[in-house]
């Protein structure tokens, strides 16, 4: 069974009296352990698509199943718990907590979401820090790290709970060329290492080349 199943999904935003269709009648399935990109120009619906799959937003019509569960029917509390269990997130602006060190940022989901005991946490965090090459920077706060380093920490935070799916909305948009390629390759290495499914959006052609499967969105429709 596919990890993500999207059936007849549309999303319409109401702006005053005007209705804007961000996504129109999308049907799609994404298999486990795949490395999928959504590409398309600005306003094509990439972010909306990722928000739907990541259970951050609800479709206007249609059905979304993630890991066999219909997520569009879950309430706020259950959706949060589901995201914590199944999905990891990497953001364009890194979104690390500024008051926590790299180590603590990665530890956050284990403490605040998974309630893992301290003894188990340390080993998991050091492993994942090592995997993303940030072990030596673990005690630094986000403002002491470069953009590429921040995104590596963000990748580690997304992976530390061993989610089945990682969503990354334009993860390289705030990075230079070299860092962008490094981060995408890191994500692919992590996919190979942990068997995690990665779904990311981009409009950078060099990054698109790294994806195994590429879906192109134009005006809210799959091209």
């Amino acid at each position: 069974m596919a990890l993500v199943q999207i059936e007849n999904v549309s999303k319409i935003y109401q702006t005053g009296d005007v209705e804007v269709a961000a996504l129109s009648d999308i049907n799609l399935s994404i298999e486990k352990s795949s490395f999928v990109s959504f590409v398309g120009p600005s306003g094509s619906g990439k972010t909306t698509m990722l928000n739907m799959i990541g259970c951050l937003d609800m479709p206007t019509t249609g059905k979304i199943l993630v890991d066999g569960k219909q997520v569009d029917t879950l309430n706020r509390q259950k959706k949060a718990a589901f995201r914590g269990d199944v999905i990891g997130f990497i953001f364009q602006s890194f979104n690390l907590f500024p008051v926590l060190t790299a180590y603590e940022n990665i530890e956050y989901p284990l403490v605040m979401i998974k309630n893992k005991p301290a003894r188990q946490r340390k080993e998991i965090i050091l492993n994942v820090l090592d995997s993303v090459g940030m072990l030596s920077q673990k005690d630094k706060f986000p403002d002491q790290l470069s953009g590429g380093q921040k995104q590596r920490v963000a990748v580690a935070r997304a992976l530390v709970t061993q989610p089945k799916l990682v969503m990354a909305d334009e993860p390289t948009a705030n990075l230079d060329k070299e860092s962008s390629i490094n981060v995408i390759r890191l994500m692919r290495d992590m996919k190979d290492k942990f068997g995690t499914t990665f779904i990311f959006s981009t409009h950078d052609p060099r990054i698109m080349e790294e994806a195994e499967i590429t879906h192109t969105l134009v005006d809210g429709k799959l091209a």
């Binding site: 951050l56 937003d57 706020r76 509390q77 949060a80 718990a81 995201r83 914590g84 926590l100 979401i113």
Partner: protein, 417 residues
Amino acid sequence: MIRIFKIALRNLLRYKRRTILTSILITLGIVLVILFSGLAGSFKTMMIGQITDSNLSQMQIHKKGYISSMDTMPLNLTLDTKRYKKIEEILSGNTDVLSFAPRIKLNAMLSNFTDTTNIRLNAISPEQEILVCPDVGSRMTFAKDREQGILLNPGEVIIPEKLAKGMKLKIGDPIVLVANNKDGSVNGLNFTLAGIIESVLGPQGKEGYMHIKDARELLRMDKPEVIEVAIRLHDFDKLNKVYEVISSELAGIINKKGKQEFEIHTWDKLSPFSNIAIMIDFMTITMKLIMIAIVLISILNVMMMSVYERVREIGTMSAIGTSPNRIMSLFLAEGLLLGLLSTITGNIIGLGGIFILNIYKISFAFGRQDNLLLSPTVDVTELLWVSGIVLLISVFATLQPAYKASRMEPVDALGHV
């Protein structure tokens, strides 16, 4: 839980200036309440002490109806030996009662052989009176060569200072007291002016003193009668409790007409200072309300700003799976911690202030007594109450911003600019 407080502390330190300013404001409120409560409480305690220990006593028992007609000092509402014995039994049987003393209150005419004026007199048994009102002597001026410790001998009278001035009387001068007894017959006796007493608050503070034996002779009482029984307790804080006990015992004593025989009053029902005491309490409560408002507004403001500035962060928390309750608890911990840090600082500074005020004591004069020193103290219960209320208000003020944070839709919060 520790992790939540650790994150909360770091978030507070993230906006150092704002946190420090808010904390200073709350701290000042707490310090103000502690100092004001300490000073006002000390002033109140001292004044009540002055009134009860030098004049009124802590409680008084009379024949029913006396207090309502006390301005005329009626002599027909006396307690005879039998009734006094009943009161004596009740008071002797109560372990909270330290001492009690009989008194006769009377109006008389005072003459210096040239002029005559009226005087209110408090006839006392000096040995018992000193046990009930241990500071009564502190209001009196005697002859320099008078033996120490003797309040009043038979044949002596102590009169209010204004009266002495008006009648041009000096200590040692002979005087005559003339009084009507309850049957209307007039009697006069010679006395020596032994001392002068200053006034204290209230009508009872303008009375002269004479020996109870002399009063009985002047009023031609065949048998010893008493008008007032003054009472002192071991522990003033038990006043209301002991009052209830004695009051219920006295209520059981009924006269031949089936009506209650005695009445009992605590000092506050007998002195106008009780209104000042109520005002002091009211002002203390007002100070506490001001402090509550300071805490409420400052923390609410700071937490609302905190939530507004961290919308994207809240979106991230929510997106990665933090439950709404946990997001709420993160912000509640922040508000609570801000209140807690301010409370600890406020208590330390407040207690330091009380300590300093006790070293450099504030002195004031009250009547003849100069150099009365205020020694402010703060009750532990009071301190706990103030601290508890600040913490409670801190959490209460954070509720709305914390709830708002917990209800944010991650997709909207992440898109916030």
